[in-house]
Symmetry: D3
Subunit: 237 residues, 6 copies
Amino acid sequence: MRPSRRAPDELRAVSLERGVVKYAEGSCMVKFGDTHVLVTATLEERLPPWLKGQGRGWVTAEYGMLPRATLERTRREASAGKQNGRTVEIQRLIGRSLRATIDLEALGERQITVDCDVLQADGGTRTASITGAWVALADCLSWMKTRNMIKGNVLRDNVAAISCGIYNGTPVLDLDYAEDSEAETDANFVMTGDGRIIEVQGTAEKTPFTQEEFLALMALARKGVARLVDLQKMAVA
Amino acid sequence: MRPSRRAPDELRAVSLERGVVKYAEGSCMVKFGDTHVLVTATLEERLPPWLKGQGRGWVTAEYGMLPRATLERTRREASAGKQNGRTVEIQRLIGRSLRATIDLEALGERQITVDCDVLQADGGTRTASITGAWVALADCLSWMKTRNMIKGNVLRDNVAAISCGIYNGTPVLDLDYAEDSEAETDANFVMTGDGRIIEVQGTAEKTPFTQEEFLALMALARKGVARLVDLQKMAVA
Amino acid sequence: MRPSRRAPDELRAVSLERGVVKYAEGSCMVKFGDTHVLVTATLEERLPPWLKGQGRGWVTAEYGMLPRATLERTRREASAGKQNGRTVEIQRLIGRSLRATIDLEALGERQITVDCDVLQADGGTRTASITGAWVALADCLSWMKTRNMIKGNVLRDNVAAISCGIYNGTPVLDLDYAEDSEAETDANFVMTGDGRIIEVQGTAEKTPFTQEEFLALMALARKGVARLVDLQKMAVA
Amino acid sequence: MRPSRRAPDELRAVSLERGVVKYAEGSCMVKFGDTHVLVTATLEERLPPWLKGQGRGWVTAEYGMLPRATLERTRREASAGKQNGRTVEIQRLIGRSLRATIDLEALGERQITVDCDVLQADGGTRTASITGAWVALADCLSWMKTRNMIKGNVLRDNVAAISCGIYNGTPVLDLDYAEDSEAETDANFVMTGDGRIIEVQGTAEKTPFTQEEFLALMALARKGVARLVDLQKMAVA
Amino acid sequence: MRPSRRAPDELRAVSLERGVVKYAEGSCMVKFGDTHVLVTATLEERLPPWLKGQGRGWVTAEYGMLPRATLERTRREASAGKQNGRTVEIQRLIGRSLRATIDLEALGERQITVDCDVLQADGGTRTASITGAWVALADCLSWMKTRNMIKGNVLRDNVAAISCGIYNGTPVLDLDYAEDSEAETDANFVMTGDGRIIEVQGTAEKTPFTQEEFLALMALARKGVARLVDLQKMAVA
Amino acid sequence: MRPSRRAPDELRAVSLERGVVKYAEGSCMVKFGDTHVLVTATLEERLPPWLKGQGRGWVTAEYGMLPRATLERTRREASAGKQNGRTVEIQRLIGRSLRATIDLEALGERQITVDCDVLQADGGTRTASITGAWVALADCLSWMKTRNMIKGNVLRDNVAAISCGIYNGTPVLDLDYAEDSEAETDANFVMTGDGRIIEVQGTAEKTPFTQEEFLALMALARKGVARLVDLQKMAVA
């Protein structure tokens, strides 16, 4: 039995609310149960120096957590003077995931920065961030289309992400914090709307896992992502 | 005429919503019009080293702004590697303001950290932060009282803050960003429920001001703070 | 009775010595009693990037304290790797104060950097810094005038600053360290030669203060600044 | 045809040389073709503060690259003042991989730090590091056993890692730099001696991949890791 | 002919003024011509962690330069966020030089920190710093002796330092900035009152020098240090 | 008797192996007994900003030590966030030493960066670094000559370095760690192939030394450097 009494293949309540801040070209408040992430997409007519003059744009991401998003307060990274290893890892993952379905040539020589700020954390902040980031990014691209800044399909497909894990010996979908801290194995899947894989990360937290276990997690993830993609489509419709 | 069509002594729509995050001992989403700040109060059974063993507690504050809280994206301070001068100045002001009405001996050897994170900025983020911080702090102290951790009146009075300025030659209350960027003079007042002053900061943005002008601003502030204190009392009732 | 036996409205012995270092375009050793600050003004033919091409110049300030300027040695900020919050707050105040009476268009596209380094600290380092900075700045502008780099009145008025506070229930002028550490209320006033206000900062160190108390402090400050402006005029004559 | 003319399932020449530095409790120079990593294992009778008094030890890793290990010189991280995101990600992966087969209780309240320094980089530095780190760690544990510091099987199994990718449409094993920079998909597998998975990381560099493609990579990895484990066994025999 | 018209073996005007700041246990304003350094010695009843419990004290030094001590303003190190290489090198030299004649056992488990802050720089700041630091240190030790904190001869001998160089083919003593920037060879000598050497640093700025040239510089230095030691003795008498 | 049983004027076994890494324009693994340093020389067609457009090139050096190069592990500087004082001092010395025999005009507007990374440290890492750096630099210049990038003699002479010290009252050559940590006096000499001096650094670790002692060390150094220069000539022949 899961602490939340969910079925093994049941997502938490997911919501994707658009247009939640006034200034950003795209924004989304994404909630996976008690995990709440505020995502904004910012368009800027500039590029990182190493990308200039190549006829391509760039999508990058930054990730942060408010100090009291967590059960115990964590130190503010701005005051500590640097982003910790986990933050760096997550924001790199979000950026890679988004870039994998965007046509950077069609975007033109511009940069979109996606900021994912966790207001409340109950497990799965990186998967919620990616899922909401796609919505904010889609809205930013619509904003550009309305202004004739881009043409055609810059965004080739949906991108959503979900975690799975082996909890008390059973593969389960969308771990919350109570499960995550106890799971033997933890995997995150980033997939497209057509079911292909953008990123897989599986980690044995306690004991190494078998290929069969991994395949069971992948099957769950496929199901979860399909559901998230449906929700994204409803959100941007 | 003010850009927002408000009367010179009219506040923006103010709301103070309590209990907005799951884990914090106290929290408040404070809105002054389009300025939205999420405030949390965290209780910790530890003290800064220089305060240990003196039989007193401490209240401190940290302030941050999400990168796209503003019209143009500002660089994330965690990624820049340090808090800028404005941030440092504001969080010191918030901390001093809160400490001025709290009985640190009655608090006991504990620290309360108040985090003020601006989700959307339209002027007056520091005054909104202080006004909301008082609510989060009051809730944190109630939480402690319920658990018999403190006795009596740790919080001696309300604390609220408001900005005033001279805009187009007229003293006006509660500047929004459009006014703030044009004002000749800008002043912030932090006051108690009984009308006394905790902190005054007046700055001539363009031309120095006279004592009479300053007194006109102070009269407006007194009115605004009285209204904010009423709203605080309703919020925590 | 004040520890220094001064009358409530009596300044410490003030001296403003010009030309104290060999290379700077303007310099001043300012002493308010045992508080000694070495101020230099440096002219550079460059601007911060965000100000380029706007036909205006800039005046900025930096503040520092020698490690043993204080009763106990304080850590060297260069070795700690950053300027602390108090330093940042003070140098921003000095910069704003100086800019408020300078005609930045008339200055032309140049930057003047004013460095205020405290050699010995006995309270009031920020007000001494501002008062001495005006002298160094005035000398720097004279240096420029001699070289036909500027015309007309770039400096519109004098700027001086003084602290006041309520010590043992009495409003007193120009707090030294012994008074400052005991004062209930502490206020700094930056004013022009014609008695207008550039910056007011009043802080309740212990208990909030009334408007009447604040006005008493302001009256004292007005007197003190008038005296400092006289001394500045004698110094640059 | 691969640039190196290797068969799709062919590793580069691998060597694992032990005892390459004088002072470390364990060390290994690991070479995967032109990728050379110097690994040392350091035993210290201390623990990170958050782990003290729990009856368990800790294994952690740090990763670095000499500035001219690469085709073009990369900036020295010590001089840049921080480790970049890629470095942080890799050293966290190495640490997690090693901890997954070590019995931290049996290790006792001690820390082993594994340093992986890349002397020459031709792709696969993280997989070479993990494979060599296991050898250095095993030697460090033997050193402890000889001194009766530990008993029984602290190291439960071998750990080795290999990369795979889809290069020119074909799944290939052990990517070198020429392949890595062109591959559509890139995956790293960390596995145990008995074929179970510790960590999987698969990334679509250009286009998302299918589950079938991913399974083909996993089959290759399994073969490669088995060969690496044989080489580890020969090395420590 | 030297720019200053001094004879080859002639020092600049040297002055050593004691007791120049109010709080420090020892202090000295040292001037070598237009090079002015304010030195303070601070006694603290604490030690660096690695020295605790060994029955010995420690003497360390920090060095800094006010931003406009130089012809052109140099960036404030506190604002740059770190001490540059030259600063680090100089403060290590000062510390080593002072420790070489002090009896650290006799000092007891305490630390003396010597701060050398350059108010004006015209060449030779490190040698002026060392020479003045000895005076500040001697005064700090007298202060301790008066309070019966130490007994006997903690300071075994005088320490002074001087630079020499080959300027226009001629060995000259005590280089000022005009000479220093043109010299072919530059050497700094730190010596004791009895003529022994504590530290020698000789650098070929342009062309390597011969042993004979080096010996000529050493002979000049010996003469210069003897004169400085006389001045120190007069100063502390 | 020296711990290593060497004669007072006997070097450790020295080897200079060229071409040890694949990508660098020049490289050398230098060993002075158990001190092993990997040196690379990198040519870049760029210059530090302050040197642009002057028709001259630049040679600079960076120095690092692998964490477990030493008896006890030292903290990785990249993780500590800065290079320590000793590192800064050494890399400045290496850079100065190399620049002293190179014709920077003949090099052209390019920069050569020499990286010296200590794989194993047993005393004398700075002298080994300089000696090996000359070989890597010479190879880098040969690489350029082969490509007709430079003409004539850019490298005017050999440069090598050796340490000497007074150990148990006897002047000895090429201190290893066991001697270095016990020596009363420690001196490093950087000299050219024709016996002239580029840099001398002599430090009294315990008691000041006499001029005679210093001359004895210089005589030993001269002998040692002559031998090192012979080995360099054989290496590059």
